[in-house]
C-alpha cells in the first residue's frame, strides 16, 4: 500500500511515518507496566538481542581498538605525542566510537531480526490471533523487545569499549613497543568516570531505545507480504543508522 502512495507524496508520507512512530512509542511506554507480567519474555529477549550479539560486538571491538591504536600511533608519532595513545584511544572509544559503532552493529544484528520476526508475526496473522485471545501484542511482543534493547545496548557498548582498549593495548604496547606504564597512567589521569564513561553509557542507552523503537515499529506496521517484510527490514537498518548518527550529534552537543 505504501509504495504507491510514497512515490506520489513522499513528504507527507514521511511525516505520517514519523508521527505514527511517535504514537507507537507512547503505546509501548503505556504497555511497559503490563509487560512486567512477562518478565521471562524480556529476559529471553535480552539473551537474543544482547547475548547473541556478543560475538560480533567483541570481535569488532577488538579490531576497532587495534585499528585506532595503529592509526593514532602513526598520527601521534608525527607530533612526538605517542605517550598520549592510551588517552586518545580511550576518550574516542568511550565518548564516540563505542556507542556509535555498537549501535550500527546492533541495528544490523538485532534490529533486523526484531523487524523480521515481528513482521512475519504480522504477515502470518499471529499478532491478530493474540488479540483474539485477549493477549496484548504490544505488552507481550513489542514491549519486552524494547526493554531488552534498552538494557542490552549499554552493556554491549561497555563490552565493545573494553575489548577496544585491549586491542589498542595489544597494538600499542605489545607490538609497537609503547611503554605499558605510560599507556595506562596517561589514560587513568585523563579519563573521567562521570564525564567520559557515563557519557557513553547514556548515549548507548538512547541509541538502544531508538533502534528498537524503529525496529519494532517497522515490523509491527509492515505490509503483510514477503516483499513488505523485506522492505521493512531494509528500512530498519537505514532509518536506525540515520537516527543513531543524528541523535549522536545532538547528544554530543548537549553532553559536552
Amino acid at each position: 500500500m505504501s509504495v504507491a502512495r510514497k512515490s506520489s507524496v513522499p513528504l507527507s508520507e514521511g511525516l505520517a511515518q514519523i508521527g505514527a512512530c511517535g504514537i507507537f512509542l507512547f503505546q509501548i511506554l503505556r504497555a511497559i507496566p503490563r509487560s512486567l507480567r512477562h518478565v521471562r519474555e524480556t529476559v529471553r529477549q535480552i539473551f537474543f538481542v544482547g547475548g547473541m550479539s556478543l560475538i560480533i560486538i567483541m570481535t569488532c571491538g577488538l579490531f576497532v581498538g587495534m585499528v585506532l591504536g595503529l592509526q593514532l600511533y602513526h598520527t601521534l608519532s608525527i607530533f612526538g605525542g605517542t605517550a598520549a595513545l592510551g588517552t586518545v584511544v580511550a576518550l574516542s572509544l568511550y565518548r564516540e566510537l563505542g556507542p556509535v559503532v555498537t549501535a550500527l552493529l546492533f541495528a544490523g544484528r538485532a534490529g533486523t531480526s526484531i523487524t523480521a520476526e515481528i513482521g512475519l508475526m504480522r504477515a502470518t496473522d499471529q499478532l491478530d490471533a493474540m488479540e483474539m485471545m485477549a493477549v496484548d501484542p504490544l505488552a507481550y511482543v513489542v514491549a519486552p523487545r524494547f526493554l531488552a534493547g534498552i538494557i542490552a545496548m549499554p552493556l554491549l557498548a561497555c563490552v565493545f569499549n573494553a575489548l577496544g582498549i585491549l586491542g589498542a593495548h595489544l597494538v600499542g604496547v605489545s607490538w609497537l613497543g609503547l611503554d605499558n606504564g605510560t599507556f595506562w597512567s596517561n589514560m587513568t589521569s585523563n579519563v573521567d568516570v562521570w564525564d567520559d564513561i557515563l557519557n557513553g553509557v547514556w548515549k548507548s542507552t538512547a541509541f538502544g531505545a531508538v533502534i528498537t523503537l524503529i525496529a519494532t515499529f517497522q515490523g509491527y506496521t509492515t505490509p503483510p507480504t514477503s516483499e513488505g517484510v523485506a522492505y521493512a527490514t531494509t528500512r530498519t537498518v537505514v532509518f536506525s543508522s540515520i537516527a543513531t548518527l543524528a541523535l549522536d550529534f545532538v547528544m554530543t552537543a548537549f553532553l559536552m
Binding site: R44, F47, G50, G51, P154, C158, A162, T188, V193, I197
Partner: protein, 176 residues
C-alpha cells in the same frame, strides 16, 4: 523448562559480562584508578608558579608514582601556590631535605610534582613542608627569554614591560 533455564543462564552471563566490562572501564581505565587512597601522609610545598598542575596530578620519585596532589591553594599574603601532596604511607623514607619540582611529562604531557631525594638522615613526616621547590618551566617564558635575549637592541625595552604584566596575572588568580 531446560530450554528456558539455558536462556536465563545466557542472559545472566551476558548481564554479568556487561557489568564486568563497565566496572573494568570505570575502575581500571579512568581517574578512579588513581583514587586508591590507602594510607597517605601530607606534605606541603610552596611554588611561585605551578603552571598547569591540576588536582590529583601524580607525585613521582625517580619517575615512579608515589602519591598525588590533594589540594592547591593560593596563599593570600605571599601570593604563592601552596600545594598539598598526599604521599603513600609505603614511601615513608623520603629525606626531609628533598626538593619538589613541577615537571611536564613529555612535550605535550600533563604536569606532575617530582620529588628529588636529598641526603638528610631525617625523613619527612606528616604535615612537613618541602622547603626546596622549583616552579614549573613555562615554555612560553623560555621562548620569550630566548627571543629577547637573542636581540641585544630589544632587551632594554622588554624587561620593563614584563614586571607590569606579571602582577596583573597574579591578581587575576587571586580574584578567583
Amino acid at each position: 523448562m531446560a530450554q528456558r533455564q539455558s536462556f536465563q543462564i545466557g542472559t545472566g552471563l551476558f548481564i554479568v559480562l556487561g557489568f564486568a566490562a563497565l566496572g573494568y572501564l570505570a575502575t581500571q581505565t579512568s581517574s578512579l584508578a588513581n583514587y586508591r587512597a590507602g594510607d597517605s601522609y601530607a606534605l606541603k610545598a610552596r611554588f611561585t608558579n605551578i603552571g598547569q598542575l591540576k588536582l590529583r596530578a601524580p607525585v613521582k620519585v625517580a619517575g615512579v608514582r608515589v602519591g598525588s596532589v590533594s589540594a592547591i591553594q593560593l596563599e593570600p599574603d605571599k601570593l604563592d601556590a601552596l600545594v598539598t601532596l598526599a604521599v603513600d604511607k609505603r614511601f615513608d623514607k623520603i629525606p626531609d631535605d628533598s626538593a619538589a619540582a613541577v615537571f611536564t611529562s613529555g612535550l605535550l604531557g600533563d604536569q606532575y610534582v617530582a620529588l628529588q631525594p636529598g641526603g638528610s638522615p631525617d625523613m619527612f613526616k606528616n604535615g612537613d613542608e618541602v622547603v626546596l621547590t622549583q616552579s614549573s618551566m613555562q615554555l612560553e617564558e623560555l621562548i620569550g627569554k630566548y627571543l629577547v635575549g637573542g636581540d641585544a637592541g630589544k632587551s632594554g625595552a622588554k624587561p620593563d614591560a614584563k614586571p607590569d604584566a606579571k602582577p596583573e596575572a597574579i591578581q587575576q588568580t587571586d580574584k578567583k
